[in-house]
């Protein structure tokens, strides 16, 4: 395994381009992934921000849900932002009918917990494991984590709510580091991918 891991960005819908740019600047080779055979080639995967209901439906429809679950179970590192965080939760508090998740982190998430677009906000967020001061948290109709299981580690909170969680090789944030020029969270994830491969 070289020092430059190949990391996919699930490209069914959402801010794929911004993640590709953030990963490239964190010294990974990044490419969009829409099909099972493309998923099979990558060392790690980012599930971007977007609409979690849409992404979940498309993943089922195009035969991606099972391959995603299998690879996450087998230990492939995954990082989800916002909608991606929802897809990595074992349980959604108020799922839309039939909304499925990939799972990977033993946590319960509440969708749109911080409110609608008018309540979307930016705030400084301290993240455990990231040096150099707080990251710029961009929260857009963002979820929060209601509770986590014993194996999941809370790495950031905002306003008394859990907004970033790590469980072994799986990382999730309520906010969108890909929309800022600060790529330290992506660098952390790229290191997680390097450590596995």
């Amino acid at each position: 395994m070289s020092d430059t891991p190949l990391i996919g960005v699930l490209a069914l819908q959402g801010d794929v381009r911004e993640h590709l740019i953030a990963l490239a600047s964190a010294d990974a080779v990044a490419r969009p992934v829409r099909r099972p055979e493309e998923l099979a080639e990558v060392d790690g995967l980012v599930i971007p921000g977007g609409e979690s209901t849409t992404m979940s439906k498309l993943a089922v429809l195009f035969g991606m849900m099972e391959p995603l679950r299998e690879r996450v179970r087998a230990g492939m590192p995954v990082y989800g932002t916002c909608a991606g965080m929802i897809l990595l939760a074992e349980k959604i508090l108020d799922p839309r009918s039939g909304q499925e998740t990939v799972g990977g982190i033993d946590m319960i998430v509440r969708r749109n917990a911080f409110g609608r677009q008018n309540e979307s906000f930016e705030a400084a967020v301290e993240v455990d494991g990231i040096d150099g001061g707080p990251v710029e948290g961009v929260f857009i109709r963002a979820p929060w984590v209601e509770s986590v299981g014993a194996e999941a580690q809370v790495i950031a909170e905002h306003g008394g709510h859990i907004v970033a969680v790590r469980q072994r090789n799986v990382l999730a944030t309520s906010f969108h580091p890909e929309l800022t020029g600060d790529h330290r969270v992506h660098a952390l994830f790229v290191d997680m991918v390097r450590a596995v491969n």
């Binding site: 911004e18 921000g49 979307s120 930016e122 400084a124 929309l179 800022t180």
Partner: protein
Amino acid sequence: MSTLPSTPQSAEYPATGTARVKRGMAEQLKGGVIMDVVDAEQAKIAEDAGAVAVMALERVPADIRKDGGVARMSDPNMIEEIIGAVSIPVMAKSRIGHFVEAQVLQSLGVDYIDESEVLTPADEVNHSDKFAFTTPFVCGATNLGEALRRIAEGAAMIRSKGEAGTGNVVEAVRHLRQIKNEIARLRGFDNNELYAAAKDLRAPYELVKEVAELGKLPVVLFSAGGVATPADAALMRQLGAEGVFVGSGIFKSGDPAKRAAAIVKATTFYDDPKVIADASRNLGEAMVGINCDTLPESERYANRGW
């Protein structure tokens, strides 16, 4: 661009309604389909089909065309019912320059306001000052200059105007090609030429320079106006639209649920003709279209706004 404009740290933190939060919201919709709906039932059909957002309005553009008269913002009750029925974002339209309709929409909690030429303009000189709002705005454009003027007024997302309610994609293609071609042309300009280009485009120099450097608009660009089939949606994406609005095309067709799901599929796999072919099978009747070359100038919505 790789990142959205940062908010000065001196700004009040946490901060709502920042450029990053407004433009970032549109980034989340990319690759998706935004569907016009007139009631809660249609909104649920759209959500179940995989729409990334719905546009709440009283009449779809095809009916506005048919009925004539003044088209205005929708009834707040109807918008609230739709907000209550779905968990995806809800957009709604205000008339061009009717900033009070926009204030009402913001107070209702819609997620995006479309200052739209489909409604009858309220001001023939001024568009609304979109910086005055926490709710982000999407605006239509037929060319780059128009897109940049809207962004200068605070628009956080741009869509082609197309010719809404015709089921004819020809105008959306024209507008998107125009915008892409003008951006490509700017790319070749040196700094001296950009000042004159800004004058020609009737747009602020700083925005023109930004577009020349980025090779794209500084906000998300969707297509709108006339998309009726999965292949139409895929066409717009291959031409560079980052997502698609579908107005009358879905609920004026024979089997809305099926057509909505098919357009979503074709929008994601816009570059895979096999998926588009499968999505196009047995959809029932498409909406009856209107030929834009027989449409009188006075009935062209794309001429509204400037």
